[in-house]
Amino acid sequence: MIKSLSTIALSFTDFSFIYGEDKTKQPSISNITFNLNEGETLVLAGPSGSGKSTISYAINGIIPWRQKGFAKGEVKIFGKNIWDYEFSALSKIVGLVKQNPSEQLVTFTVRDEISFGLENLKYPEDEITSKVEHVSKIMGITDILDRPIEQLSGGQKQLTVLCSFLVMNPKILILDEPIAYLDQESESFLLNRLKKLVKTKEIPITLIIIEHRLSRVLDIADKLIILNDIGNISLKGRVKDVLEKNFAQLKKCNVRVPWLIDVFDEFKRKTHTKNNFQNSIDFQFYFDYISRLEQNDLKKIKKIIQSREINAEELKKYENLDQVIDLKDTYIKSLKFKKFKDKDGEILNNKNNNILLETKNLCFFYPNSGIRALNDINLQIQKGDFIGLVGPNGSGKTTLLYLLANLYQPSSGAVYYKNQLLNDIDSYEYAQKVGFIFQNPENMIFKSTIKDEILYGPKNFGILSRIKDEYLEKLIGMIGKENPLKNPYQLSWGQKRRLNLCSIFIYDPDIILLDEPFIGQDQKTIEALVETLYIENKRGKTIIISSHDYHLLLKYTKRIIELNKEGSVLYYDTKSNYFSKHSNLGPILLLNEINRRLNEGFR
């Protein structure tokens, strides 16, 4: 009995927590019950505001020692109640890696950072040196140990934070959305090292990963817990069991399910019992599987992949704009726009279409530093286009968006709006034509009520009298059933993002620019966001969206601009042409293989 208890690293029993001093408030988490054995990996997912971070705080001692509130139930770490631990004792056995690495790095070089915890624990210098060498060897970063922090990539920074906890030999490590801020390259870099760590067990550790993109982390997880909007557990179990037996239920939760399982699960349902296999997260398994399929089944699976991952089939219902207006009940009739044809590739080939934005030899240097952010950018952006802007961190995506929004001045070259030089247009007028969504929703909140916040733009632009109450009410409705006088900071993260959208929709801009809008957002918000953007695009708006999320861009955009590290345009093409050249993306890999097999069959 004692032996089995000692293997339980973490146990929650009917645990609830209310922040603040008001007992009557809705608990952030309620009735949380689960066990995690030593050495296991748990993936914790759920919508924003569901209490994922609250659970992590209850494990590492922030609750109850640093956060006021009311707790009910029990949390035990290695059989001992958290109340019986000192905060300092808990920080020795529980580590917490947060989303943004830049906010966690406090020293100067990688070596300094990894040594930081050990220095605080008064380890002798020799021991610190050997421990740092050991951990960095396991995680494969010995070559960057003496590199200054500011010279690291996002992935290297996050790995440094991870190592700075691992070196302290914690029993439990919590990773709170560790890949949220990373580009594709950095994400793969970090996940590969993490997977190696879990699989080789070179450092024995109990891992809790908070992540809503399940496909990224499920292959190393033993258990899965999904929280719902009100902080209850809506689904829990072993990963294998959930994927095999409860996948339908998992899909209903507000998380991003692995696309592979989603596609093949539907395939199974469509082909009934003929193709019966257990859901897996192993890409190679499905790749091998399709090599055994017959022509008919290959066509079926191809159709499913195309409808699920390449074309936004579920949004086809919004093709008819009148339907959109009735359905969404958001846009007033007076704002109806003419229909806009958007077949992939059509606009690019038709030179007679209106060019809305154009850049000619656009360059941008950071002042006084000589660092080139953008290099000789020549783009023609047509009216009604939906463009995905991709590229590694530091490639100048945000700078390009700022230049297009006239928030920065080009160092050389020029930006044209409807063939007119941007400098010749009154910036007051141009600002009304562009809606800009910034990465952090809170960076766009300036007023103390939802209503004032939405009306902030119209007030500045002097068009307040033109805003109809009916339209304003409908926009507020987009945020949820909220009091217009509520403080925007009291909204959930997803609601804040929707508020941002409303605050630009109110002045009806022609162009919508979005800078990494999906970071930190849950699946429901992302879906609502792309749905709204899709409708806006249908209504004639030109949309440019910068994101690292290739899967979303593959599905929803029409065209892709890719910038390289030097700030030059690497590709500017229709999404189908672009992604056919980037076959390392899962759905494209599978489609290529299916096409190859189909072609073989016809020979």
């Binding site: 300092s88 947060k98 008064k122 380890y123 530093s369 928030l407 910034f438 960076n443």
Partner: protein
Amino acid sequence: MKEKNMALDNKNNTFAYVPGNSVFHKLNTLSKLIFLILLTIFTFITRSLILLSMILLLIFLLALVSEISMKRLIRKTRFIVLLLLFGVILNIFFNAIPNEREIILFYLFNLNFLPIRRLAVYFSIKALFIVLTLYSSTILFTNTTSNKDFVYSLMRLNIPYKFCFSFMIGIQFIPTIEAEAKTIALAQKARGFGLEKVSTFKRAYNLIFERLITTLVAILRKGHTTSISMENRCFGLYKKRTNRIIVKFKLIDIVFIVICFLIFTSLLLYQLNILPLPQVPSLYQIFLQIF
């Protein structure tokens, strides 16, 4: 540089560390601190404006040796010089000791109610030199001293490490705060703020209550994450911590400190008329000789 991009100037931070290999860069932070302290004491006790101007010249020479471009230093001090010159004018008119016996140099525009008194001019120019000397010597210090050297030197002085790290993180946070404030300013501008024609007062009010609060929220969130991350790595658990990095004194430091003390002591003795050296003529004496 185009006005719109001024906010982007990352090197615009006057007190930021500029990496280099000069002698001043190589000196121990404590040596530089001693130099700074002695310099500060001397600027306050010296009465000679000629000596003060020589010290200022010395700092500019040291800056030249320290690979800090003169253009940069002058650009950085330009603003403060303008501000001080304004102060000089105010001092002359409003801070002049209303003493009838005080020497009046001349009457401005030959008007009897606008006397320019000797002491008022002296104090004004002295204040200008003191502020300018301290400002440029601080730039010299911070431009040649990395945060890392500074923090570990403070720890060497047995200042509690919690204070040293808090201070350092505060400094390191400055670019983050700047970046955040710039983004928020752009977010405001994107929605028409600053473009509308409203009164300066209203704009200032909006600036404070909109931009400041939004920036403050962003900084507090970031600060909260940083403190959690540090506490989770046992920061502050014990009164002492292992200091892997020990700031060492080299021969060059000893030589530098000895020279500093020698010069300081000589100047002090000279100032107190203990050293039998001819007195430097005062600016007033030069003024009398000229006119």
